[in-house]
């Protein structure tokens, strides 16, 4: 069998591993247009803050990669021809396939205001973007950051770490309103202020001003903020061009069934580009999370190699650091729209938007625990600061632990929910060891 994988992100790498675990003889070709191949894209945030050098983002698993025996073409696929089972590349060459995987990810939603093409207006998709941001940060004194979600905050923290003054602009009235509740947003906003970040709410950029470089931004309310660079993270868009042209069914992502196969037999999709059917929800959803991308890529690879396996979406889960505060988001956390994001953001899952029956929270100095409770189970949680409960909650939510025996206790006014959950976890984990 001849396998072709388009994309060098984590979904593509996982697919290669899965194919090789089944088919030791098949020919695997990987085509990718990221000039740097496979590296940790989420790790770019830590490269930007200076916690890790860029070369460290590449895994040191050369020997293990060699064992996977795949042929790597650094190049750009211009079209897929399903009738001929062939992909064409920009350099005029082509590759035929028996099974094809689209794992080309998503790109930052572009900023479309006048002046957005000026040098100094940056986004964070690739290593080259990160290097460019650092180049501007070395020269610049002031940055404007636009957007909600995790990536915008990573950009903010990068500038803070590099000694650049930041104006952080939010169109809405608080940070990341579709995932965090008001109190959680305030915790993050206060910490950002302590770091010297100037927050502007109800602020919308309508123009980036400057001749050959960024000089300022103009806001909808008429204000002008002087700055040397503008970084934006207003959402991501699955890269759908190839799939559309090839006649694959697409919605917001490439539509795939439980086996990660698209509407065209033999062509699969996984990771940020895929919109995967979830039998539990009864609909197709987008996850732009690294863990599910790896799981989807692996499952797609198995199916491509003939080992039929359905993808079971695990509880959406992400860990991030918001203004220095480690935050774990698990399952449904129950909020709707966010003025600062167009569609989905990097590190985000649509499943987080589902509404629970009840919501309770407990806060300390910098710690906060919020639980989302269904009829019999915990359906979601946000753990900010102290992470001792995040693994227990991940397990209990993921396994649908029946918490009806502690539900009333949890919902009682002033309940010490962290202690109730800890005690219950001891019992539950002993029974499920």
């Amino acid at each position: 069998m001849k396998y072709v994988i388009i994309g060098t992100g984590v979904a593509g790498i996982a697919a290669i591993e899965a194919i090789r675990s089944v088919d030791t003889a098949g020919e695997i070709t990987v085509v990718g247009d990221d000039p740097h191949g496979f590296y940790s894209r989420p790790g770019l945030a830590y490269y930007l803050t200076g916690e890790v050098p860029d070369k460290q983002l590449f895994p040191q698993m050369a020997e293990e990669f060699r064992k996977l025996r795949f042929h790597y073409i650094k190049g750009h696929v211009t079209r897929i021809l399903p009738a001929a089972s062939r992909v064409d590349l920009q350099d005029g060459s082509s590759v035929t396939y028996g099974r094809l995987l689209l794992a080309i990810g998503a790109s930052a939603t572009p900023l479309t205001v006048p002046g957005a093409q000026l040098p100094g207006v940056v986004k964070l998709d690739h290593l080259d973007d990160a290097r460019q941001i650092l180049k501007f940060a070395r020269r610049g004194k002031t940055a404007v950051v636009v957007g909600g979600g995790i990536t915008a905050l990573e950009l903010t923290e990068a500038f803070v770490a590099r000694g650049v003054k930041v104006h952080y602009l939010l169109r809405g009235d608080r940070y990341w309103s579709n995932v965090l509740d008001a109190q959680e947003s305030r915790i993050i906003e206060n910490r950002l202020r302590e770091e010297g970040v100037q927050l502007h709410f109800h602020a919308e950029v309508i123009e980036v001003q400057g001749q050959n470089s960024v000089k300022s931004v103009r806001l909808l309310d008429g204000r002008v903020l002087r700055c040397d660079m503008v970084a934006y993270a207003i959402g991501i868009q699955p890269r759908l061009g190839l799939a559309r042209e090839a006649g694959l069914a697409v919605d917001r992502g490439v539509l795939v069934n439980q086996f990660l196969e698209s509407s065209v037999p033999g062509i699969y999709a996984a990771g940020d580009v895929a919109q995967v059917y979830d039998p539990v929800a009864g609909r197709s959803v987008l996850d732009s999370l690294w863990g599910p991308a790896r799981d989807q890529g692996y499952t797609a690879g198995l199916n491509m190699a003939g080992r039929i396996k359905a993808y079971h979406k695990s509880v959406p889960f992400n860990v991030t650091r918001l203004a220095g505060l480690t935050t774990t988001i698990i399952g449904a956390v129950g909020h709707g729209r966010d003025d600062d994001l167009v569609g989905i953001a990097r590190g985000d899952s649509e499943t987080w938007r589902e509404l629970p029956h009840a919501m309770i929270a407990q806060s300390g100095e910098v710690n906060r625990l919020r639980l989302l409770i269904g009829e019999r189970t915990l359906v979601g949680a946000i753990v900010m600061g102290d992470q001792k409960l995040s693994m227990p909650l991940e397990k209990m939510i993921g396994n649908g632990a029946d918490v009806s025996s502690i539900r009333d206790q949890l919902l009682a006014p002033g309940a010490l929910i962290a202690e109730i959950v800890s005690t219950y976890w001891l019992e539950w984990s002993r029974q499920h060891a």
């Binding site: 790790g43 698993m61 860990v319 991940e394 202690e419």
Partner: protein, 88 residues
């Protein structure tokens, strides 16, 4: 057992250091490599986590650099079963 004992105090950590190793919660990891970068004896901690394996390495000092530096709380100390009876 009291709740505070469950999640580790400085005394339990000392016992762990004597008779334990570093284990990952692989679902939290994004392979950024900060753990491997900060390991004083250059163990490729990240590669262990990719495979979902504990950092069982003859030279591991259990110094805790990787545990402390990981920005996503992937790594933790865990006692090995071998000494569980004595250390508990």
């Amino acid at each position: 057992m009291a709740i505070k004992d469950l999640f580790g105090t400085s005394s339990t950590r000392r016992r762990v250091l004597a008779s334990g190793h570093v284990v990952p919660d692989a679902a939290r990891c994004v392979q950024c490599g900060i753990c491997s970068y900060n390991c004083p004896i250059e163990i490729d901690v990240r590669a262990h986590v990719w495979r979902g394996e504990a950092i069982v390495h003859s030279q591991c000092l259990t110094c805790g650099e990787c545990v402390a530096r990981c920005p996503r709380g992937v790594l933790r100390f865990e006692r090995t079963d071998l000494f569980a009876g004595k250390a508990g």
